[in-house]
Point group: C2
Chain length 390, copies 2
């Protein structure tokens, strides 16, 4: 069985249907990857995820490296055994968190040394890797491309991601060039580490290279071409959803797409609002991941059809509203509870509220993805977009 | 169908089997009543409760009166419709919360006026009722026996409870006498209000009288006799689990039991640690309620067999423990997750942790109650006690 197979290419757009096959199960694409930062999708149990049609979720290497640690997880049988999830899993490289959680603490404007960026207190970057201080306990750690791959091998997710230098937005051309060179250099280093570690693996872990290049067309193209030329199993697009306008994000992805090989799955990192889903599926993205359904769920924001695409359950107008979030929705929350009850649960900070809204949001997204796959097959994606108001 | 029927009286103890029949379903007794303070059993969904074998839960009138309000709940179809629970429900009178949430703020030692106790800032009590300030929004409210019954009719639970004057522990003989007289006076007043309101009810609400009398034998006896003489559907024992030693609690209940009619169900208010369950079932208690499974669940305390009867999942020794809470337990938590994973969830404050520990605790208690009912039938309660380490 090959890792990835395209089963249908739409004639009306770049959208396509495919299957990712791993040792822990299959994922029909286009797919939305739920986020389970600390080895749990916030608010939902593995059984619920399965019932909701979630096939795969994302665990953040940075967070589980710090707590409880990759060595402990390995000792306990790997991520799947640790978190009680029998399906496919993906881990990221830790790079995005190392950079983004360090970024806020950047204090100095000293750009003199090429080997250190911003003189940040939490993060110091060199060609060898990144020195950072744990948000969890203040201890210092060093992530190199090899170290990230080695941690991801300890964790044992089915899909793993290359350690890259993720530039902030906006960034100067000069810095973007230095950063990209580093990402490309690291890509080669970590591929060697991955090949070496894979010899001992009990099952294949499929490695995604990451395309960077910030918002410079030629850098994005160069990166897409270079990363595609390396023996990665899949291609991820990084450095998006970092504070740039949505239009720019679409532009950056459009620059990259023509250079990506058709036979490798394409993942868009950290993106997934309803309008994004439609746009990027049409551009040929196979998978994307986003905290949206869970984070919005915990905030009392329920995703609904239409341009505004969510309602805030905490608003006073829902206090007496006997109707569910969406009378046509088949989720547990909409089948059993009124907006008035959900409003009450959020107002009183009851655990059930976070969970029901998360459950609804995840149901909505999974249902939407199933409809999108069906629409691609029937060449009716445009009509589905319209139905959803995008 | 009669409201309550005793189907078996043990020959070895006062323990008995029975059935409470309501418009929303039956409850086999002895039963443990889960607590859902604000119209949700913290951390669990109605579907989960049902799957766990929970037949009935307790909603606190005081809390839902303040938020979202009994009028709104009535407008939305009553408590059952509001919280999506199709089974039986019980509400308390609000009295215990009015007194206990007010107690902490008692500042003055002035006992001169009989009509006001302790000069508390949050609570002022008279023969007419209790004036109190909402912990929720600071507004002033007045609860009288009639008001409490009228709120409980708005809420529409299947079982409701008389508004009583719940004495703190310890209390002087003089105060206990005044308080008891008030409880008895109120019992008569609220029975009339209940009878009047019941004429308009869509289904019967069964009213429990409350025995008080603090820790004075003759007052307890007098109260048991008096409350039993009134046309209540059931008898609740109040004023226990208010800070007194466990031995005293058992003594107070033992004073009361001989005076209670055999044909009415007996509820013990706010009690339910594993050793309590055995002791009070043997004394002839039919139902009891306690926040233990849910509160302990949120604290990371998992109930286990044996004298210590719980483990603290946050302890360092569970960090690397690959075994479940109880390898013999059939709950979702024990069937799927290690103590190491639960430890990680609690350490990182993940929602799933609170839920899994609560789920385990509720499973434990429901399983124990089923075993207790079986043991009563087989006259093997003593053996079961031994097996559980009590």
């Amino acid at each position: 069985m090959s890792f990835f197979k395209v089963s249908y290419q739409s004639k009306k757009s770049k959208a396509r249907l495919g299957t990712i096959t791993t040792n822990h199960g299959k994922v029909a694409t286009p797919a939305y990857i739920a986020v389970g930062t600390k080895a749990t999708v916030k608010g939902l149990s593995p059984k619920e995820l399965k019932d909701l049609g979630v096939k795969i979720f994302f665990v953040n290497t940075y967070h589980v490296f710090l707590q409880p640690g990759d060595s402990l997880i390995k000792k306990l049988g790997g991520l799947h055994a640790f978190c009680g999830w029998k399906g496919p899993l993906i881990t990221d490289s830790g790079g995005f968190q190392v950079f983004s959680l360090g970024k806020e603490k950047y204090t100095s404007k000293d750009n003199s040394a090429q080997s250190f960026r911003e003189g940040g207190k939490l993060t110091k970057i060199s060609n060898q890797g990144v020195l950072f201080r744990s948000y969890w306990d203040g201890k210092e750690h060093f992530f190199s491309p090899e170290k990230s791959i080695s941690i991801q091998h300890n964790l044992g997710a089915d899909l793993i991601v290359a350690f890259d230098d993720c530039t902030p937005y906006p960034v100067t051309r000069a810095k973007a060039e230095i950063s990209l060179a580093r990402t490309h250099r690291w890509a080669q280093e970590l591929l060697l580490a991955h090949q070496r570690l894979s010899r001992r693996a009990r099952y294949p872990q499929y490695l995604y290279g990451v395309v960077q290049g910030s918002y410079f067309k030629d850098l994005r193209e160069k990166s897409a071409e270079f990363i595609s030329s390396l023996p990665f199993d899949g291609i991820a697009i990084g450095g998006v959803s970092v504070g740039e306008p949505k239009k720019k994000m679409r532009q950056a992805v459009s620059w990259v797409m023509p250079y990506l090989p058709d036979d490798k799955p394409r993942h868009l990192l950290g993106v997934g609002e309803p309008d994004d889903i439609f746009d990027f599926v049409e551009m040929g993205i196979d998978t994307m991941d986003c905290v949206l359904p869970t984070r919005f769920g915990r905030m009392g924001k329920a995703i609904v059809k239409g341009k505004g695409w969510f309602i805030d359950l905490l608003k006073a107008k829902y206090q007496k509203d006997a109707s569910p979030i969406d009378p046509e929705c088949g989720c547990e929350a909409c089948q059993n509870f009124s907006k008035a009850y959900l409003h009450h649960l959020f107002k009183t900070h009851e655990l059930l509220g976070y969970r029901l809204a998360t459950l609804h949001n995840m149901y909505y997204i999974m249902d939407l993805m199933a409809k999108i796959r069906e629409a691609i097959r029937n060449e009716g994606l445009k009509e589905l977009r319209k139905e959803y108001g995008f």
